[in-house]
């Protein structure tokens, strides 16, 4: 670790150019006032800049290296979109500004809604949710509202594949449902027979990611849709993997009723070390009335907010204002730069890169989890052999890959494949970068055989050696302690 910001200060030091002259507070009741100042850093402006500049350099990032993190779509985040979202008119606009002073922003929001409708094949879109998980929550709440509105109140279950992302069951439970898991078969598709058995009148809906979290396209999606719809259930599309099929296939055409799109994945808004993102939800005609508010509407040449009065069946608001507006602007800027052909190419080249990389790794002797399948924009490999033979885990290999200046793929997801990597190169990486990845991973694999200890104790070239998670959880040190 670097010295903490708390350890480089001195009492009374501060960034004086940032301090306004204090105001008079003598009219406030003394008992309402703070007695002791909070322990915050006491550092100069240069110290702050230097500290956080240097800290930043202890991160991997897309701007620094290849980052093939499966399910996360770590592609290039255009700087132009960042600049647009930061324009004074957008960045300085108060969320509750009067309509007359909001027409520019509302035009953008409305345009984004239209783009997402076109890209997903949905009838209506609300961009209110602030990430994928909140989109899921919104979608499942909409499903519940739909059933409730029909007096169909006994449906208690949401079906999720066992390979699903953790947010899926968590979101279902948050909406008051039981999450019922169905298994994924050896071919990576949901076990159709098991699914049929699981569906019934207790089924409120199903959540599917397609292409799935196993990196393959769910081939019987139309049949699944029929089964669920026939039982009175609805289909939720987890759009985390939309990047794979953008411009090639649309969830709306697959039979989904409601979905979210992770703009921070498919629409290239930066992940920011954890966020922010945005998870607009789209719905077909049936579910559109339940979309969360606020949304943007267009009337003639002017734009307005869709207020609760206009959407009496809406599941309502999910945030203090209108969601992560700045992220929506970034996504719109990106979408406009791509345009019709660009969007299709995103899916095409993401798929090309994944299949190329998968093929190259197969040739190098890596074990694919679904060797008979095409990769979508990502694919799964497993190190169960290495685990057995050399006592090496996927995590060990991931850590060693870091030493090569490459971010590790997603590890241990999907949970059902033992010792796995989920690898997603994205369309913005070059063939050379993919080839370098193959070389590095092959080198690590060689090392697993010749010097497993080196792999088990990786990383060796980073600011920290392997960090002790167990100690972190056992011996909780969650704030900086003064010496």
């Amino acid at each position: 670790m670097s010295t903490s910001i708390f350890d480089i200060g001195a009492p009374g030091r501060g960034a004086a150019a940032q301090r306004p002259a204090p105001g008079d507070v003598s009219d406030l009741p003394p008992e309402a006032l703070r007695r002791k100042p909070p322990r915050l850093p006491e550092v100069s402006e240069l110290q702050t800049v230097r500290h956080y500049t240097n800290l930043s350099r202890r991160n991997f990032s897309i701007d620094n290296q290849f980052y093939p993190l499966g399910s996360c779509t770590m592609k290039y985040n255009p700087r132009g979109a960042h600049r647009i979202a930061s324009l004074p008119g957008f960045a300085g606009r108060h969320p509750l500004a009067e309509l007359a002073a909001s027409q520019g922003f509302l035009a953008c929001l409305h345009e984004l809604q239209e783009v997402l409708k076109a890209a997903t094949g949905m009838a209506a879109v609300s961009a209110a949710p602030m990430a994928g998980a909140q989109g899921e929550f919104a979608g499942i709440a909409m499903i519940r509202a739909y059933h409730d509105a029909r007096g169909d109140t006994e449906r208690r279950e949401i079906i999720v594949p066992d390979a699903a992302h953790g947010t899926n069951p968590a979101s279902a439970v948050m909406c008051g449902y039981v999450a019922r898991e169905v298994p994924v078969g050896a071919d990576g598709d949901v076990d159709f027979e098991a699914l049929k058995a699981a569906v019934g009148e207790q089924t409120a809906g199903i959540m599917l990611t397609n292409p799935s979290t196993c990196g393959v396209f769910e081939r019987r999606i139309a049949d699944i849709a029929d089964v669920v719809h026939d039982a009175g259930g609805l289909l939720y599309y987890d759009g985390a993997n939309l990047n794979a099929v953008l411009g090639t296939a649309r969830p709306g055409d697959m039979g989904f009723d409601v979905l979210h799109v992770n703009l921070h994945k498919t629409f290239a808004t930066p992940h920011g070390g954890g966020g922010p993102g945005a998870g607009p939800v789209g719905a077909n005609e049936r579910l559109a009335p339940y979309l969360p508010t606020p949304m943007a509407a267009k009337e003639g040449d002017t734009y307005r907010w869709v207020e609760p009065a206009d959407a009496p069946d809406s599941i309502g608001r999910l945030s203090a204002f209108a969601g992560n507006a700045g992220i929506l602007l970034r996504a719109l800027a990106y979408a406009r730069m791509l345009g019709r052909d660009g969007m299709r190419r995103v899916g095409e080249f993401a798929t090309l890169n994944a299949n190329y990389l998968m093929e190259r790794l197969r040739q190098q002797g890596f074990e694919l989890a679904y060797p008979e399948r095409r990769a979508s924009h990502e694919f799964v490999i497993t190190f169960r052999q290495e685990a057995k033979e050399f006592g090496i885990s996927a995590m060990d290999i991931a850590k060693r890959l870091l030493d090569h200046g490459i971010h590790a793929p997603t590890t241990y997801f999907p949970l059902l494949v033992p010792e796995c990597f989920l690898i997603e190169p994205t369309e913005t990486e070059t063939k050379e970068e993919l080839d370098a990845f193959v070389t590095a991973l092959t080198q690590v694999l060689g090392e697993v055989r010749t010097d497993p200890e080196r792999v088990k104790t990786a990383p060796h070239n980073l600011p920290s050696a392997r960090l002790d998670d167990v100690k972190a959880a056992r011996d909780l040190r969650l704030v900086h302690e003064p010496d």
């Binding site: 703070r34 909070p38 909001s102 519940r144 396209f217 204002f321 913005t428 990383p459």
Partner: protein
């Protein structure tokens, strides 16, 4: 091909390696009936064209002096804040799951946790949820989990498990926060019951007593409240704790440099403190991204949603940081997680951390006190206009309710037309306050701004009877 680096040669070589004749063949597992034609979106544009088009839109909304708060505040943001946040290393990194490749973000979050705990007077903090409103929703869920457990332990009373769990909203809590929390928690059988505010603009204590009669799982109180006023938080905490309810405080972090931290309220202190971090270096951004924060006592840390960073050691015994208590989270615990949150608001936490470092306790205190004093000046200036008066007389932080003697919606529209963001017409929230504007002045508002607002408001109110169409005085502006 924007952002796609492939040359024709690359494509040919790659397809060849795959053994596929064309890219299209890679989609052969998708049933033909599900393939779509060209999307109904316009052709692509260059960065230059998109920039020009969206700049034109942004210009339309470029604001004049802003006297509107209501949950989002126009503070000065030191240039260093976003210069640092915009570094690719912060902006384009993922969640710091690979700790060794993410020490930058991890240490920063740990420092953030320390700062937030200090500000709120709590012991632990998480690494953000979406925004203040969703932070309140998550805090309610958390309190219910925490209190259920407490009740099982017999600490807090009868322990009767009812079908609906009650949470009491004490006083004037931001309506959008309450609405959001309600929408998010209702699926789990949790009901929010509100005391409303009395003539003083703060918690209706009589109604509060009544609602505590049957002990709720938790009580929510906002300080300063959504009308800018100081709630009697000590009384609220005392009564809530006496009733075995946990206390959730909603607090503006800037105010905490000046006002008593929730951890110090009454003797026992609030149990959970949440709110929106936007005032800490984040632009108004048309509503987001901001970030929600939640702080609590150490005993409740396992109920805290969101990521948490802990200090640990590496195999060489060197200190280092890692995400911890991940077993609370959806990627491990799935349906039993403390929350479904995954992507959070990391970059905004970065901004807030840099901001708090630059300002320090003394700087934040200066800002808070200056906001207060400037708002007082604003109120003085505006109430010197005939017919404008303060609606509530209790002490306020940096927002104040002004009765303008006529429908405030129209007034706000007219101030906007004059280039001033004049405040929130409170009829939108409380019909009985339809003649009221909620105004706010941060440290950014100069005396000239206040004078300009006063002049505009004067004009609007004096021309009230005859709608201002081409009047003589207009011409001379």
């Amino acid at each position: 091909m924007p952002f796609i680096p492939h040359t024709d040669q690359d494509v040919a070589t790659m397809l060849d390696a795959i053994g596929a004749p064309a890219i299209d063949d890679l989609f052969d597992e998708i049933p033909a009936s599900l393939r779509c034609g060209p999307l109904d979106v316009p052709p692509g544009e260059s960065e230059m064209e998109v920039t020009a088009a969206l700049t034109q839109r942004a210009r339309r909304d470029e604001p004049g002096p802003c006297f509107l708060g209501a949950g989002a505040y126009d503070h000065h943001i030191p240039a260093a804040v976003w210069d640092i946040c915009s570094r690719g290393e912060y902006m384009t990194a993922y969640t710091p799951y690979q700790a060794e490749a993410s020490q930058g973000t991890l240490q920063l979050i740990h420092e953030f946790q320390t700062m937030m705990a200090a500000l709120t007077g709590m012991e632990v903090a998480n690494a953000s949820v979406y925004d203040g409103a969703s932070a309140l929703a998550e805090s309610v869920l958390m309190a219910v989990r925490a209190n259920r457990r407490s009740r099982r332990r017999g600490v807090a009373g009868a322990g009767r498990e009812t079908a609906t769990i009650r949470v009491v909203v004490a006083g004037a809590v931001h309506p959008h926060y309450v609405e959001t929390a309600r929408n998010i928690v209702q699926g789990q059988g949790i009901r929010l019951e509100a005391t409303g505010f009395d003539a003083s603009g703060t918690v209706d204590l009589a109604r509060f007593e009544t609602l505590l009669a049957e002990p709720p799982a938790a009580v929510i109180v906002q300080q300063p409240n959504c009308l800018g006023l100081l709630e009697p938080v000590n009384e609220v905490v005392a009564a809530a704790h006496a009733a075995g309810a946990l206390v959730i405080a909603v607090a503006n972090p800037i105010s905490l440099a000046l006002l008593a931290p929730p951890g110090d309220w009454h003797e026992s202190g609030a149990d959970i403190v949440c709110g929106d971090g936007q005032p800490l270096g984040i632009p108004l951004f048309s509503g987001g991204p901001y970030f929600g924060y939640i702080c609590t006592r150490r005993e409740f840390v396992r109920q805290l949603p969101g990521r948490i960073v802990g200090l640990t050691e590496d195999t060489g015994g060197q200190p280092g940081y890692a995400l911890t208590l991940q077993a609370r989270e959806q990627h491990i615990r799935r349906g039993k997680a403390t929350s479904n949150i995954c992507t959070n608001q990391g970059l905004l936490v970065t901004a807030a951390t840099v901001y708090m470092s630059l300002l320090g306790a003394a700087g934040l205190n200066a800002i808070a006190s200056r906001c207060h004093a400037t708002t007082r000046k604003l109120v003085e200036a505006l109430t010197s206009i005939d017919g404008v008066q303060q609606r509530f007389t209790g002490p306020f932080f940096h927002e104040c309710v002004l009765d303008v003697g006529r429908d405030a919606e129209g007034v706000a529209e007219q101030t906007a037309a004059a280039g001033i963001t004049g405040g929130l017409p409170l009829g939108r929230w409380y019909p009985e306050l339809a003649n009221c504007l909620l105004v706010c002045a941060t440290e950014k508002r100069s005396e000239a701004d206040i004078a300009a607002y006063r002049e505009v408001l004067c004009r609007i109110l004096i021309h009230a009877e005859r709608p201002a169409i081409g009047s003589a005085s207009e011409g001379s502006r």
